[in-house]
Symmetry: C2
Subunit: 134 residues, 2 copies
Amino acid sequence: MMKAITRGQLAKRSGCNIETIRYYEKIGLMPEPPRSVRGYRQYDENHERRLLFVLRGRELGFTIADLTSLLDLVDRRAVSCGEVEKLARSHLRSVQEKISDLKRMESTLSATVRSCSGQDVPECPLIDRLFDIK
Amino acid sequence: MMKAITRGQLAKRSGCNIETIRYYEKIGLMPEPPRSVRGYRQYDENHERRLLFVLRGRELGFTIADLTSLLDLVDRRAVSCGEVEKLARSHLRSVQEKISDLKRMESTLSATVRSCSGQDVPECPLIDRLFDIK
DNA sequence: TTTAGTCCCTGTAGTGACTACAGGGTCAAG
DNA sequence: CTTGACCCTGTAGTCACTACAGGGACTAAA
């Protein structure tokens, strides 16, 4: 059994902002941990594992709602690869859409920046492009 | 001179949500237009051009703050290609960073989805991966 | 002329996912 | 015994909108 750690220690170990932990507790993503006599939160390795799960999921771009339902499956011990796959596939699609949106942005931006003189002159192709009617 | 149009008409022409126009006015990105006797906003082609500028800039991922400073340069007739280029370049860098973050996400996700059985079984590589310690 | 429907106005609250702050209590080191 | 770092709480602020409630105005049909 791991010795109980405080919120600040959990934050440091996980790389999570300390307030975010309290926020995840408030929205039900993290369980309410036991408290010390003085009311300090006491976390153990299960809390840490769960928090890391959430942080990794967020890094992969899953929403809080996605993670809530994934953790709900886990909590109910009803993980079925089928359900998870469906969620992950639809998330993958949205990530791919974001990438192509950003690539379109990137090519417009870099074309415009290339055409910039960089001089201290009052003609700017970026401004002109944004102001172009139609 | 273009006949004045209402907020709803401007919204329809520009493809912008009607409430967003009011929001842009509140934060000073759009000027307060003249009003009709009954208090209806009356927009003209300059408003439309400015709104399209903002909408295109947002599509390219510029923040409201970016657009505020760009439009400020325009309003002060002090557009210098140098300043604009600097902003655009730094924005381009952040877009490129976002793209590479998302690509990392994408490859992890698609690798995981590929390894999914898609079956109704309780072993799921995505869950396992998210729960892996370290 | 009435009525129904669509527009416009205002202020305010809600969204997502945090992050920061104020005002207090606790604890360990020197 | 004091200083500073930690912890607690509730609340407000962030960004860029979006939605809603409650009211007035205008248009077209019955």
